[in-house]
Structure formats: C-alpha cells, structure tokens
Amino acid sequence: MSLDDIRKMVYGNLQTHFENAGIHGHSEIDDSYDMVESGIVDSLGFVNLMLAMEKELGLTIDFLTLPTDQVSKFGALCLFLEKQSNQ
C-alpha cells in the first residue's frame, strides 16, 4: 500500500468532516495539518478512524509506539499507517 493510497483512505473515511472544513480532496491536505485543532476528530472519532483503517488494511496496529505529538498530524499519521501496513 503506497503512502498516497493511505492518504486517500484517511481522507475518504473523514470526507464529510474535511468537506465541512472546506477541504475537497486528499491532495489539498498539508502534512502538518492538525486534525484535532481543526476539529476533524476527537478521541472517539480517532478510535473510529483507526478501527476503520485496521479493517481496510487488514492490520492490528500497535498505537503504543506512535509518539503522542504526532498522532493528530495528517502527514505523520499517514506515514505511521503506511509503515505498519508494509511491515
């Protein structure tokens, strides 16, 4: 799974939320875009996103290895998911 595919998937999962924030496609999202500060996800929204990603990627993800300060950044999260899916 390529990084671009993952970015598309994360965007797709939260499409309505992104669209409400005026973002209409994964290519419009900056790596440093903060999904918590912009109100795209809260803690329950984050869990739901991750469960959906696990299902789509056929993975069990170890979140304890994901540094806290990176969780909410779009780029860092996608990169983390890409690494996990190619392990």
């Binding site: 996800v41 809260d42 329950l44 869990v47 993800i61 170890d62 979140f63 304890l64 806290t68 909410s72």
Partner: protein
C-alpha cells in the same frame, strides 16, 4: 470558626520539596517552589485590585494558567469556579453572567474570545493572565476589562495560605441543568480537605507518585486528583486534548503511577489494543468512575497494569466526587448485569435507600440513594430552591441527607450496592454528565417549538457515545440546526443526528413518548 485552608497541604509540600515537579503539561512544567511563587503572585495581584472578592473564575484548562489559577485563588483565601474555555462563546457568556464575581484568571489562548465577550457585559472585570501573552494588543485595557499579564503581576513571595472558615466555599463546579440553566455545586474547604486526606491515607500517596489529571478542571473528578497529589508532594501530569487520543502512550511517556479516569477512556484504549497484559507496570493505583464501570474493562485493566490496585468508584459533584468504592483487584468482584456494583460507602459516611415518601425500603428493594457524611456539599450556588430540594431528613434521624437522584437496590446484609438507573433524564455521554433537558431547552430556543426530545444514542457498555434529537414540525434543515446548537452547547451535548418528524408521538397520558422513540432507534439497529 477558623480552620486550615485546603491549600495549606500544597504550601507544606512546596516547603518540603521545593525542587520537585508539581505540574507538567504541554512539555512545560512548574516545580513546587515555582508554582508557589506564581500562585502567591496571583493572590497578591487580586488582593491589590479586588481585595474583597471571594470567588475567582478560572477560565483555563490543561494549562499552567489553570493550575496556577486554582492554587492562587485558594492561597488568597478565595474559592475558585472553573469554566471550560472550550465552551462555545454563548455558553461562556451565560456562565459568566451566572457567577457573582468579576475576577478572572485566564489562559492566554482564551483572550481573543473573552475580551469581546466582556465588552458585551455591563460589569468591570479584572483579568489576570499568569502566562506570557504573545499578542500584546490583547493587553490594552478596555472600558470594562483590566488585563494584568504575568510581567505586570505583583512579585510572588513565599506566602502562607490565608485563613478560611470550615464552611467557606473552596470551589463551585457547574454541571448540566435540566432546564438549560447550569447548576453550580458549592464544595467547602472542610469537605474537600477531608476527602483529600482520606485519599492520601487510603492509597499512601507520596512525593514519588505521578498522577494523571485526565478530567477537565470543570469536573469535580479533577479536585480529587489535584488536592491529594499536592498534599503528598506528588507530580501531576496533565494530558492535552491530543495526548488523550493515545492515552496509553501518554501513560508510558510520563511514567504514571496513579491513574483515574472515566471507564470510557479505558474502553477507547481497549479498542486501540492498548490494554495488553503487563504493558503498564508503573501504575500502582487505578480508579475508574463517573459512569457505570463494565466488569470486562476492570479485568482487562487489571491484567494490563499488574502492579496496580484497581477500583470502581461511584460519586457525584454533590458529594465531593467520591462516595463509594469497590476494590476489584482485591477480590470484591461484585457485578450487576455486567457492570461493577457501586461498592461500599466510604468509612465515615452513610447511605440510605428510600421510596418516594422518604421511607427506607426493605433489603432487596429498589429506591433512591441518599448519602450523608463529611463529603456532602453545601448545595447549589445562588439557588435556594434547588438546594432546599437537595437536602432531606428522615423520620427518626437528626442528620441531613443529600439526594443523589440515582436508583439502587438496597443491599442484603453487608453486600455492596447495585446501581439500577436514574430517577430523571440525566445520562452519561462518554463519562460526561448530561441532562437531556439541557439539550432540549437549547433546541426549543433555536427552533421556537416545544416539539423536541433528546435521547442518548448509540448506547455503550457505560452509558452513551452521543446524543440524537427528535424534532416535530420544523422546516429548518438538519445541518442548520446542528450548527446552531454547536454555538450554545459543549461538543459532547451536540446531537450527531437529528430526526425530523411530522409530529412527535404521544403516550396514553398525552405526554411526549420517549420510550416510543427509543424503541424506534433500537428497531432501526435491528433492521440494519
């Protein structure tokens, strides 16, 4: 009668352990001596401008300003009342209007919201900001706001905690009110001091403990973390909103030894596979409370944190957050329909289970839980009617009890107390206390129709994950209603779905039929 100030415990710790860390948040931290100086400076600044103010509004959360505001208020002999800065501005404004105080300790980030709000109010406010403000234009004093930034504050010295009376209010915490008006619960120095000392004793907290402050400052659960921790000279580690996306990682990074949260947080951790065997060896004390605690989560946590005692705690703001305990890891694995029972009353407190006419019910029967003891609070801020309804006396007993509104089964013999439900329409949404009437009152205002019913949905093991709204006979679109409600309700009270109907169903008595709507939601799941 004078008595020792609740915060005297902090001052004692600051003199014993000046170099130890008192509070950590956002990668920043304050040592005990630094927090003592900063809060002394807040107290002296308020003394200089508002000598007679008895209550300070703390408009901050998960920041250094928040903790300094709490300690600074108390050290000066004043109570504090926290308001969550994340509230929509309309709710902030209503809350400010409900409080008879014009002294605010604010975090820098709230100034752009607060200053325009204050302009609309016809009172003069003192706003103390104990951290540096980057946008200096915020510091210009306006007609009715004097803003004092850290650089202009009085120099803090090593001050003692001011004398207070036992019955003085230490904090006022506002909870959701059933008519849309938030209720402020007044907790005295005597109650919270008793509670803090009891907890230090119960868990033998020391200066080596590291507490996780998961609750917002505006919830009473924060008080039973902050004050025992300071009493013991321990370190409080406060997660940011982002840290709470990945609580397990935060726990590991901070080396937490004392964990207290709503079980909803543990449920999220469980879904993220964070509750694996032995992953949290540093934790030695865990308490879950604020909503019913599922047995499976207590079991998972006991395995994930094998060195920890694990307890379910029950309580409410009206009883200083803690009223009963069930020590799960010690073999008290008592359950009722998959949930831990609420356990046993804290030694030194008492409970009764009564019927509608305040007669004690027979063992095994269901009734309302009444409590009394040092943890009983003073009632509701500026609301004699609600305070009067809260307290009651029973036949043949002299002491005053407080009503919980919770239905329980009176235990048989020395068994623990099984929780049954609520007397009213209060629910828990991800651990947050929500009056459905609060949401309905907001909707009635916006839609100008009384055809509204709010329900918790979808259900979780603990309570509910969210709220939905049913509206009859409106032309307003769902998206428009939701964005209007967002302006007046905290996020956890905003409906995630609005069902628009021609007319709401009525029951046999001609009242709006909540049960019928609940069945409708349940059926829609079964069909799917």
């Amino acid at each position: 009668m004078h008595h020792q100030n609740l915060i005297a415990g902090f001052v004692r710790s600051a003199r014993r352990f000046p170099e130890r860390e008192a509070f950590r948040v956002e990668g920043k931290s304050l040592k005990y001596k630094e927090l003592h100086e900063l809060s002394s400076a807040i107290a002296e600044t308020i003394d200089a401008y508002r000598k007679n103010e008895s209550l300070v509004i703390v408009l901050a959360n998960r920041t250094l300003s928040a903790i300094a505001g709490v300690v600074g208020s108390l050290i000066g002999g004043r109570g504090y009342t926290p308001i969550n800065p994340a509230f929509p501005s309309e709710r902030l404004k209503n809350q400010l209007l409900a409080i008879r105080s014009t002294t605010i300790v604010a975090e820098p980030g709230i100034l752009p919201t607060l200053l325009p709000l204050v302009k609309e109010l016809s009172q003069d406010y003192l706003i103390v900001v104990p951290e540096e403000v980057n946008e200096k234009e915020m510091l210009q004093n306006t007609r009715n706001a004097r803003v004092v930034e850290i650089a202009e504050m009085k120099q803090g010295s090593d001050v003692d905690a001011a004398k207070v009376a036992n019955d003085d209010v230490a904090y006022v915490i506002f909870t959701s009110g059933s008519t849309g008006v938030p209720k402020g619960v007044m907790t005295t120095h005597a109650s919270i001091k008793w509670m803090a000392e009891m907890l230090v004793d119960r868990y033998t907290f020391t200066e080596n403990d590291r507490f996780s402050l998961n609750a917002e400052l505006s919830f009473s659960a924060s008080a039973v973390v902050i004050f025992p921790a300071f009493e013991a000279g321990a370190t409080i580690c406060c997660p940011t909103r982002k840290d709470l996306l990945n609580p397990g990682r935060f726990l590991l990074e901070e080396g937490i030894t004392v964990w207290k949260s709503v079980p909803s947080v543990a449920a999220l951790m469980s879904k993220l596979h964070q509750l694996r065997d032995g992953v949290f060896p540093t934790v030695r004390i865990t308490t879950f409370g604020g909503e019913p605690v599922p047995a499976f989560l207590l079991d998972e946590w006991t395995r994930a944190a094998p060195n920890s005692s694990v307890e379910a705690v029950y309580g409410s703001t009206e009883f200083t957050a803690n009223s009963t305990f069930l020590v799960w890891s010690n073999g008290q694995r008592e359950t009722h329909e998959g949930l831990a029972t609420i356990g046993y009353a804290i030694p030194g407190t008492e409970f009764r289970v009564v019927d509608e006419t305040l007669n004690v019910v027979a063992p095994g029967e269901i009734g309302e839980l009444l409590l009394t003891g040092p943890h009983i609070t003073k009632g509701y801020y500026n609301d004699e009617e609600k305070t009067h309804a809260f307290f009651c006396t029973l036949k043949g007993e002299s002491r005053k009890f407080g009503r919980t509104g919770d239905l329980v089964r009176r235990p048989l013999g020395k068994k623990s107390i099984p929780f049954v439900g609520r007397k009213d329409n209060q629910i828990k949404v991800l651990g947050n206390r929500v009056e459905l009437g609060d949401i309905e009152a907001a909707a009635v205002k916006i839609l100008s129709t009384h055809e509204v019913i709010a329900l918790g949905w979808p259900p979780s093991a603990m309570g509910f994950d969210g709220v939905v709204l049913f509206v009859g006979g409106t032309t307003m679109k769902e998206g428009e209603m939701i964005s209007q409600l967002r302006k007046v309700l905290p996020s956890y009270m905003v409906p995630h779905k609005i069902h628009i109907m021609e007319k709401l169903p009525l029951n046999q008595n001609g009242k709006k039929d909540r049960l019928a709507l609940r069945r409708k939601l349940e059926e829609s799941v079964n069909v799917a």
